[in-house]
Symmetry: C2
Subunit: 333 residues, 2 copies
DNA sequence: CTGTTAGCGCATTCAG
DNA sequence: CTGAATGCGCTAACAG
């Protein structure tokens, strides 16, 4: 069973290839009803399916975008992906998703492979480790958009959470509930990853706003594998924190693990609030207070803006959009 | 900034396109060092990147496979996808993931679009609602493999969990712990989706094996939205179940929600065991006993078998592989 | 060892 | 309204 091509249906319908091509692409064409019928019949009979690869080669566009997430383990990433897919489906675009696993080399590989595949544009959650590549893309005016993370000094349209506000919201809420010894934990700060450093900054600023001391022993940004140790240390302090803010969903898992292991009561012995919603927050014991990101809206806007770049003229202004976080009060604080 | 093609580097290096092509594909070719150098220099200078689309058109293969999952909300799906991606990366294959959302029409759309894109093969978690399409693919000897679900009477290589055993393991464990009134809940049985019906069957058989009655009021397969009502009913019974088996991860969320709402104690008032591991099982209160699927191994085998179909000769024997589930005892039983 | 030639499947002038 | 011709960027014989 050979693959049937346009030439085959043209032959069967006794017309030329171009006529078939026209039939397929613009119905509004002036074409005799008779011809249309014959072509349609031939298509059905042969089970003809157009070959996108050939079409793409000719048209120099694949109707496909790529999205490269830094770490697909974050709930946020998967939610954003979902909504990107939704708007792309509407627009008849396809999307290829890749996971860089927080590794700049993998990111580079994926960017190159996606561009070799001629995807029409890229949405990336940048690792930040490929400046040259990023620069080259903006120089080439290649449709590009960043999500979740900023890359300093690069004029690329970006979509982020208002991270300082997110941490601020958490601190405010905790203070309102009477906590004063507030700690915060997040994943490694070493690579200067935007949401992490901004959230820590937001935490500090909010503390100051409430005239609370910013104590070095109360916050940290370390790898997941080191969190337990850091937590141990914090809780050996003469005055351990009464409340903990988790910088993201992966972090809250570690905190909860620690709390469980030491049999601490939430919120009596330690209050907990997580930035990023997690699947089980409402059924946890107690239900978890969280700061949620509008992941759906963010993904939607990301896709729309990228498609606009692809279709429209290359935008002059490439600003960064900030979305507002939302406090969801439950019982862990 | 125009896109640079092979012709450009050929011109700059003063050789023909085919020489460049050869240089790129088989370095071990007998080619003068001098030419190699010139070509390499030209490539660097121009920043040449081969165009996969053109290559694919010519070679009639895209080095890409598609995977269509029935419902990406299941943890199992995402895990399988991850491991498929891992083996594909090793093999220099790309993967495009689509989510049919349990809708046969979406599944059909995706299958058609992926084939139009000339992907070299498909791994699908079939909805079961596209017999004609499936048949057409096997007739065309198109590389195809099913995961998680069986389609009756279709000779397609398939990879599944030993579902009856999974449910059996759960019942055995519960019986050993002294429970006799054992209930089971899962998502809708109406479309005869393999894992659901097999797990319910396994539950019944295991009950019989232990000489326990199979009571109609104790098990059900209904939509997520109706579960709360069904649970209400079960617990209004004069003899409500003492233990509940969740047919999958989505179901256990509903059960846990119900338990929380009614403030039932686990496992004293109701024991709980879930088929499918969930992210929070070890930090839940109490930690959740589960039956885990070897998702990683399953995805790995799926990818390997599909790649074998693509590369090797079309297999004569297309058997179904069953993987053993594993009981993870924690504290909810 | 390297260049010439001929398509892959489709879309697009441009004539007829 | 329809057909013949041309080329997208690359690979694959086949000659030189």
């Amino acid at each position: 069973m050979k693959h049937v091509t346009m030439a085959d249906v043209a032959a069967l319908a006794k017309v030329s290839k171009s006529t078939v091509s026209q039939y397929i692409n613009n119905r509004y064409d002036y074409m005799s009803e008779e011809t249309k019928r014959r072509i349609e019949a031939a298509i059905q009979q042969l089970g003809y399916k157009p070959n996108y690869v050939a079409k793409s080669l000719k048209q120099k566009q694949t109707s496909t975008i790529g999205v490269i997430v830094a770490n697909i383990l974050h709930t946020f990433s998967t939610q954003v992906i979902r909504s990107i897919e939704d708007v792309c489906r509407e627009a008849n675009f396809h999307v290829i998703v890749c996971n860089a696993d927080d590794d700049p080399r993998q990111e580079k590989e994926y960017i190159e492979m996606l561009r070799a595949k001629q995807v029409d544009g890229l949405i990336v959650f940048p690792t930040g480790g490929n400046m040259k590549l990023y620069e080259e893309m903006v120089a080439a005016k290649y449709p590009l958009l960043f999500v979740d993370r900023l890359v300093q000094g690069l004029p690329v349209e970006s979509i982020l959470l208002d991270n300082e506000k997110a941490a601020g919201l958490a601190v405010d809420h905790l203070v309102e509930n009477g906590y004063t010894r507030i700690g915060m934990l997040t994943t490694s700060l070493e690579q200067g990853i935007t949401p992490r450093v901004e959230r820590i900054n937001g935490y500090k600023k909010a503390l100051e706003k409430h005239s609370l001391p910013v104590r070095e022993e109360y916050y940290a940004g370390v790898e997941l594998s080191r969190m337990e140790a850091v937590l141990e240390e914090m809780f050996r302090l003469p005055e351990p924190p009464e409340a903990l803010i988790a910088g993201n969903d992966l972090t809250i898992m570690e905190i909860l693990k620690f709390i469980k292991k030491h049999n601490l009561a939430i919120p009596d012995q330690v209050a907990v609030i997580g930035i990023d919603e997690v699947s089980f927050s409402s059924i946890y014991h107690p239900p978890l207070t969280t700061i949620a990101q509008p992941a759906f809206e963010m993904g939607k806007m990301a896709a729309e803006k990228l498609l606009a770049q692809i279709k429209g003229p290359y935008p002059e202004q490439r600003e960064v959009q900030r979305f507002a976080p939302k406090l969801i009060v439950r019982k862990s604080t």
